[in-house]
Symmetry: C2
Subunit: 208 residues, 2 copies
DNA sequence: TAAACATTGTTATTTTATTAACAATAAAAA
DNA sequence: TTTTTATTGTTAATAAAATAACAATGTTTA
């Protein structure tokens, strides 16, 4: 299949998250407009996204929740589990680790790396923290493909470059520093302040 | 002026962040292509955004960094400071507070609210934590307009509804739960897992 | 059974966002 | 001084995303 639009991928992730909630609540079928309204989007959007991944409902009964979860998984998850590491297990790193650990079967948070002697070789937020110096060795051994970057801003560039040198293929960058990555490496950046300023702007304008 | 496109607002925030970095590095002028390359976007994008806010450069010398920072501020910041509170000062709340506190002059983190007796009436990550029960009173007294929601998922709906009842106009929701807000309230949601799954998908596809 | 209905998958249309094109302009070079 | 050059602001073109429209199809109900 062709690569899906980034927005569709994001929504598929959200659909799955929501659908898992439905399963928990013992709901086994769901109509497009119901799923849509849980996520505050339109039913057309849902149907169009599902069309793109070729999923068909049981007519007039809605989508089979469990089946749809599986289908989305087959599309957006990798075949074998993809291993993830957190670089810099400080305040944000710990929050992220705690939230993330064990949430997805195909996305496995296997390590954190830090240079604080107080932290290394301890289990923090459910994840073993390794010395930063061992990153090269362990990235290979543990087959880590994705890095979550939560080091202080001053070290962002340097640590990112290292993760790439050691074989990482994707980076989720939470530091303030915009990174430069070579082609072939997928980079996603998120800065909370941008979100806050966006909220503040639209609150001020009160027109949206 | 007309409301700016959301994407432009996001980029203006990023421009400003980057420009402040330039100022720190004693750089006083910057060309559109230089700013663009710091953020990995195109120069046209930069120029178009600045056109929308009506900012003009000193020709052939580039944009005056300080002046541009001020102009962006006049557009995206509110006149008087806008007060912000964090609801639920746990792992994520603390990380956010520490990062955010004092970063923007017009966006002021003035309180956190929590129902853990161990936390209330202490200063945590630079912010005073108040008992959740006093939210109603204090939201008015402190004139809080924006809430950052970092409570456990199970309490997301309830606490969000309360903040709205008590006068909040914008919510930045970090919980897994998609919220339903009445019109007139601006809602921004962010879930790390969606970002992670997006990274994983494009790493898997290796085509982007 | 036949008519009305609810829901879907998909194509067509509209809207939004990005990129390209280019004339205008002043600085630098000839 | 004149020409070349670099850079801008803006309009025009393209691309991406969202929405609308609608035929198809079984379900319900009259
Ligand atoms: N994007 C966001 O929304 C957001 C929110 C909060 C914080 N942040 C950013 O995330 C980063 C981390 O914030 P924090 O509050 O967790 O900071 P922190 O100081 O609590 O944590 C940083 C961690 O990195 C470790 N570290 C320092 N240098 C290192 C190195 N060279 N190699 C490996 N580990 C190293 C430290 O020992 C510490 O454990 C900062 O850049 C901050 O600006 C971003
Ligand atoms: N969006 C993301 O990227 C992301 C990342 C990590 C965590 N999270 C989410 O953020 C939330 C907080 O995560 P965390 O790791 O900080 O959890 P946490 O348990 O460390 O913190 C939650 C805090 O909320 C307080 N609280 C509980 N009930 C409350 C109530 N009714 N009113 C006020 N305060 C209350 C608790 O006392 C605690 O201090 C969770 O919903 C988690 O899923 C989101």
């Amino acid at each position: 299949m062709n690569t899906l639009p980034a927005k569709t991928v994001e929504r598929l992730s959200e659909y799955r998250r929501t659908l898992m909630g439905c399963l928990n609540a013992k709901r086994n079928y769901i109509y497009s407009h119901q799923l849509a309204s849980l996520l505050h989007i339109t039913a057309v959007q849902v149907r169009r996204d599902l069309m793109l991944i070729g999923y068909s409902s049981v007519l007039r009964k809605g989508y089979d929740v469990r089946e749809l979860i599986d289908t989305i998984g087959r599309i957006i998850d990798s075949e074998e589990t993809m291993n993830v590491a957190i670089i810099g297990i400080g305040n944000l790193g710990r929050a992220v680790a705690g939230y993330f650990k064990g949430k997805r079967s195909k996305l496995n948070l296997v390590a954190s790396f830090d240079n604080d002697p107080q932290k290394v070789n301890k289990v923090i937020s459910g994840v073993r923290c390794y010395p930063y110096q061992e990153m090269e060795k362990l990235m290979g051994e543990l087959n880590i493909r994705i890095a979550i970057l939560t080091v202080p801003a001053d070290y962002a560039r340097e640590t990112a470059e290292n993760t790439i040198r050691f074989g990482i293929k994707g980076i989720l960058n939470f530091t303030t520093v915009p990174l430069n990555v070579p082609s072939g490496i997928f980079l996603e950046e998120y800065d909370m302040i941008t979100s806050m300023e966006k909220v503040a702007y639209f609150v001020k304008e009160n027109r949206f």
